[in-house]
Structures are given as structure tokens and as C-alpha cells.
Symmetry: C2
Subunit: 366 residues, 2 copies
DNA sequence: TTGAAAGCGCTAACAA
DNA sequence: TTGTTAGCGCTTTCAA
């Protein structure tokens, strides 16, 4: 059925004109019914809808976007999809976008400063309604292109300094790091090693600041390691820190890769977790629950990050006049697990409560 | 500089016409220079290029795609991005696509049969040059839409039966499973548990077949469990199998989630790996190397899968006449790690060589 | 409220 | 080899 209708075009997809003819109205009316941009008399609208149904008409978004200024595509640039955090972020964005009838154009910069502006430039030529962007690092090489494009843009996860004019959505990095570290200090740790990939990325610095704030407040000692993004060299560097005479009794790893590197370094230097050294990571993954010991980790609310970023973009895309920038910072849960315990030798002070996390869900609108 | 040129349009992006005027040629010539579709005299081409540079002209892919039949966009549909295998597949595809000047439109079906056709339908309305598709399962609900669209389509990873007319790229599932199992049998295992998510997905069945073939050939016993895609219930089901009087001494987990579930089940039932039970998973991830014991796993050549899928699609998109379907199956490496050892009690037979993998890289063109 | 007509920016015909 | 013309499928004036 309906095949007689469809063969008419000899394989050609039906267009607005076909629908208009079938419904005995003008193409403009078809458009108005379908986009809802202008009112159409009920009976005519029904005729149009029926014709659409009968012909199996699907509007061509390419043509629609070419003509109109309002598009329903979002450009998304993340450093890499191999990083589960970004993969989950993109998936959450895609889910929300599709639910709202929007599409996603996805690109990756490969954590490469030279690639970022190239990727953004290509994205921009597609004239998306907006951009969701995780910059490579503080240098944010795509910035001039984004600004010149005039497109709405939300920075997610990494918000370089000087980007106060951009919308941004990220977690409360200092807060999460402080809360995590405070717990370690409570348990009696006095030498804490914070492992960052690079301090050239704002969120890394913010996490380090959080750790430092807690450590300083407690009069303990902070060891800071900038270990790079690669697992192997990072593990070696961490092992180096562990092999000193006065090694840390707790490690806070600021990315998943560094958590893995820390685990490797601890194993290689013969440390048991948590007996010899406690470990806490950023970003929670399924394997951390199953690992023995199970690894404690800061849990980022990825779905929430995606939701806020998308809603912001949609709002801005639909807004008539320019909106003031909006900076959202979300609080994080921490999954306390077996990798956390008090320091080994003479447990100096610290209460012996069970390591339950204080409930700190909520939102921090800066 | 060049600003005087750019302000002319009063913020308007320059078009082919602007470039044509600036270079004193026709719009068609500009198009021909930029797309390289027809020859243009060197000096004129140089003039055009100079004008492009001076005006900061960027072609609008929307308009180009609307007019021409050849598009440089690929539609990609995967079940989910939260699964690192698919995330890495998409990343590898994106990398190759971008290198070739193509873009990716990404959608996810959420492993949902109802969502798959919806997602594909939206993808198709964008008129991509081709589709890369990982079906939800054998039911492949998007199939009629894909066929009706007439678009080139490569099935990746999951190739439902009856899809011989489609191009497909996947690993040699039976071969990988057979090789893995053969090694376990060599080590003396006689009761092997294969854990699949669901037998409604072809690659799961193929893996099971591979395990079964090896087990049968060795006269050993195969235990098959269809454990679902969720970690918790799967772990419970696996624990059930382990708690019987005659438990398996080796587990082959057919997905990453099931590998995690198996680990959990083993821990919960007090089994040590590999002393009480050996474990081998499908899909290798960073944490498996760091886990104690390190987890052995079949390594899928994701980059290669992506490369072949993309090249195939590009070939088909550029081809004049229809090409015969091409079914590629790639051999896999196996990362042999600590989670593999002989069975606990009376190690019956089996040579005591070191568990090094036989080199079996290569391609199997079915 | 509706229709006719004019493009959005580009490339494919066709003619020169 | 080049320019002219037309039109991809849609939305948006503008006039009725």
C-alpha cells in the first residue's frame, strides 16, 4: 500500500511541492504546518498531514538548514572518545539532543593543539546551532575561531582562565578534591601525593588546589607530580616518588589513566593498597568496583553535565537577545571503597569512623 | 589586514560569487578550482586561490551537499558510546574520516530495538554518503530503512544472519574463541564455562560456536550461560554456575561487562584467579593489564576494523556501478596474562610450555 | 490565513 | 577551457 503513491516519483523522494500538490495547498503552507512557525487552518493542516503520511514525506534537513537561520545540529568537539569520560559525555549529549530532535556532529582533537582549531573550523562550516567544546588545554587554540563564528558555545569540563565570557559547565573541581583529601587527612594521612597529568589544564590545577587547600589546612605535606597523560611514563614517575625515603601514604590520582598508572607503580614497588598506601582516583568506572581492592573515586555527574550544556545551548540558540554567560559548577559524589584506609605505621590521630561519604550532592552556581 | 575586504560584506560570509567577482572569473570556475572536478587554467586557478585566501572564503558544505550528489558525511550508528569498544570504533572512524575530509554524524540506539530504526531514519534524512552500522541484534530493525534508502552501508562487529548482501567488517569470532579455548584445554581444563550476553546477537553465537568447537574436539565439557547485558544479574548467574558441585575450572567471558561480572562472581564465591578458576575475556582494556591478576583477553583490532569499514564505504560511494558485497573477518591477537593457568586439582595432561600466543595476525576474507 | 515568488550557496548542465 | 543558466528542497519575504 501507498506504493502506488511512491512509485509515482520514480524512486524520487517526495518534496514539499509533492505534498503541497497532494494536499491542494501551497508549499509555504506545508512548511508552516510542519515547522509550526505560522498558524494554519485546522482542516488544511489535517490535509497536509495526511498527504505527508500517504507519500511518506521526510523533510530534508539540509535544504531546511540552508534556507533558514535556525538549525537543529550541534557541533561537539572532545579531545578523544577513547577516554570513557568523554565518550559518556557525548553519549549523554546525543541522547538529549535526539530527544529534542537535534543532531550531533562529533569531532575529536586527539588532545592535539594543532588539531583543535582545524576540527572546530570544519565543524563551524556546517553552521551548527551551537558548539559543545572541551578544549585541549588552557591555550584553547580554537578560541579565536569560535569567537569569530559568533556561535553559542558551552565549554565543558575544562574551562581555561580568561574564558569567563563563555558559558561553561564543569564539576566543582576544588571542592571535590578538597572533600576527598579531607577524608584522607581525617584518616591520619600526613604525606599525600597528588598526581596531575599537566598543570596546563585548568581542571587539573583546580583539583590540585583543592588537595592543597585541605592539606595546608591540616598542616600536612603535599607532594605534587605532573606526570603527563601517558600511562607508562606516569607509572615510572609515581614509582620514583614511592621509592624515596619518605614516601607518601596516600595518592590522589587526578585522571583515570593516572589511577591506573598509580596502581601499576604501587604494584611494581611492592606496595599493598591500602595497607601501605591509600589510593583515590578521579572518575569512576565499572572495573574500579570489581578491582581488589575496589578503588575509591570521585564520581562526576556526566549526565547532568550533558543536560545542562545542551539546555543552555538550546536556550541561547532560541534567544532573541544575547544572554549573559552562565558558569555552572556541579558538586560530586565520592565512591569510598577499599583502596582507602588509614596510614600504615603509627596511626597518629584521626577518628576511626567508618569511611562513609558525607552526602554532598547539589549544585553550585558560581 | 584583509579586514577591509571582509568588512565589505558587512559581516556576511563571502560566497562563491564574491570570490568569483574578486578573481574575475565565473562561480563555476571557483567551484571547479576548489573541488578539482574539472580542469582550470593554472593562472586563473591561482587567482581564485588568492581571492579565497584574501576573502577568507570557506565553502558551505550544506549548500554543496544539497546540490551535488556526492556528499562527504558518514552516518554512524552504534548501540552505545559508554561501551569503550564502540567509543574507540567511532573515534577510529572519525580520525580516518577527517583525514579524508569527511565528517561523521553519530547516533546511538541505546541497545534498543525500537530506537534503532528511528535513529537510522534521522541519519538517512541527512543524506550521508554512507552508513556504518552496528545493529542492536539479529532482528536488525533498521534493515528495511537502510535498504529502502539505497545508501552504501557497512555492518560492523555484529552481522545478523541473512545479511550476506551487506558489506561487513568484523573479527573472526569463531576463530578467536577457538584459539582462546584451545589454549585453556591445552592447559588441562575440562570444564569450561562460556558466558554470552544473549544468543540473539550473531557475534555472541559465533564466539560460542568457537568455544564449543574447541571443547568438542578435545572431548571436554562445555557449560553455556546466557547472562544478559547487565553486570549485576550476570554476576549472580555466573555465581550460580560456580556454586554447583562440579564447577567450571575456566571461564570465557564474551564481553567486557561479562568479564567484570565473572570477576565479581569469582570474588563473591571465594574463588581465586587463576588458582581456582582461569578467566579470559573478550576485548582488552587498560585496567586488565593493571588488575591483579592481570586479565587475559582477546584483542580486537579496532583501528583496522574502522579503516576497512571506511575505505569500503568510500569506495562504494565513489563507484559508478554497484559493487558485490564484501565480507571481511579479521584475526585477533590474544593477550595472555596471569588470569590464565592450568586447572586446580589433579592437572591431568597438557604440555607445560609457556603460555605464549601463537602469532595469528592476518586477514580472513570470507 | 494563504499563495506566489524569491532566494539560501552551491554545483551540474549546457552552450560558447 | 570557460561562462551562463538553472535548480537542489526548503523557508521566507511580500502581496493578496
Amino acid at each position: 500500500m501507498a506504493d502506488d503513491e511512491r512509485t509515482r516519483g520514480a524512486g524520487r523522494r517526495p518534496t514539499v511541492r509533492d505534498v503541497a500538490r497532494a494536499a491542494a495547498v501551497s508549499p509555504a503552507t506545508v512548511s508552516n504546518v510542519l515547522t509550526g512557525r505560522r498558524a494554519v487552518a485546522p482542516e488544511r493542516a489535517a490535509r497536509v498531514l495526511a498527504a505527508v503520511e500517504r507519500l511518506g514525506y521526510r523533510p530534508d534537513p539540509l535544504a531546511a538548514n540552508l534556507r533558514s537561520t535556525r538549525r537543529a545540529v550541534l557541533g561537539v568537539l572532545v579531545p578523544e572518545l577513547a577516554n570513557p569520560f568523554f565518550a559518556e559525555l557525548v553519549e549523554a549529549l546525543e541522547r538529549r539532543a535526539r530527544a529534542a530532535g537535534w543532531r550531533l556532529l562529533v569531532a575529536t582533537s586527539g588532545e592535539d593543539r594543532a588539531e583543535e582549531p582545524r576540527a572546530i573550523e570544519e565543524l563551524v562550516t556546517w553552521r551548527p546551532a551551537g558548539l559543545v567544546l572541551v578544549p585541549v588545554d588552557d591555550s584553547f587554540p580554537a578560541r579565536p575561531i569560535v569567537e569569530r563564528s559568533g556561535l553559542p558555545c558551552v565549554l565543558v569540563d575544562r574551562v581555561p582562565p580568561g574564558c569567563e565570557a563563555f558559558d561553561s559547565v564543569a564539576i566543582d573541581n576544588p571542592g571535590a578534591a578538597r572533600a576527598a583529601t579531607a577524608r584522607l587527612l581525617e584518616l591520619g594521612h600526613r604525606r599525600i601525593l597528588a598526581v596531575a597529568s599537566t598543570l596546563a589544564i585548568a581542571n587539573m590545577r583546580e583539583r590540585v588546589e583543592g588537595v592543597a587547600a585541605a592539606v595546608t589546612a591540616a598542616g600536612a605535606r603535599l607532594d605534587l607530580l605532573e606526570a603527563g597523560a601517558e600511562a607508562e611514563p606516569a607509572a615510572a614517575a609515581i614509582a620514583g616518588k614511592l621509592d624515596r625515603s619518605d614516601p607518601p601514604t596516600a595518592i590522589v590520582a587526578l585522571t583515570t589513566t593516572l589511577t591506573l598508572a598509580a596502581l601499576r607503580a604501587l604494584a611494581e614497588t611492592g606496595r599493598r593498597v591500602p595497607a601501605d598506601c591509600a589510593l583515590l582516583g578521579f572518575d569512576d568506572h565499572a572495573w574500579m568496583q570489581v578491582a581488589r581492592p575496589a578503588i575509591a573515586a570521585v564520581r562526576q555527574p556526566i549526565g547532568e553535565l550533558a543536560r545542562l550544556a545542551f539546555d543552555r545551548l538550546r536556550l541561547r540558540a532560541g534567544a532573541e537577545q544575547p544572554l549573559p554567560p552562565c558558569r555552572v559548577r556541579l558538586a560530586c559524589d565520592i565512591a569510598w571503597r577499599e583502596s582507602i584506609a588509614g596510614p600504615p605505621a603509627p596511626a597518629p590521630t584521626g577518628p576511626s569512623e567508618s569511611p562513609a561519604a558525607p552526602p554532598n550532592r547539589g549544585r553550585l552556581n558560581v
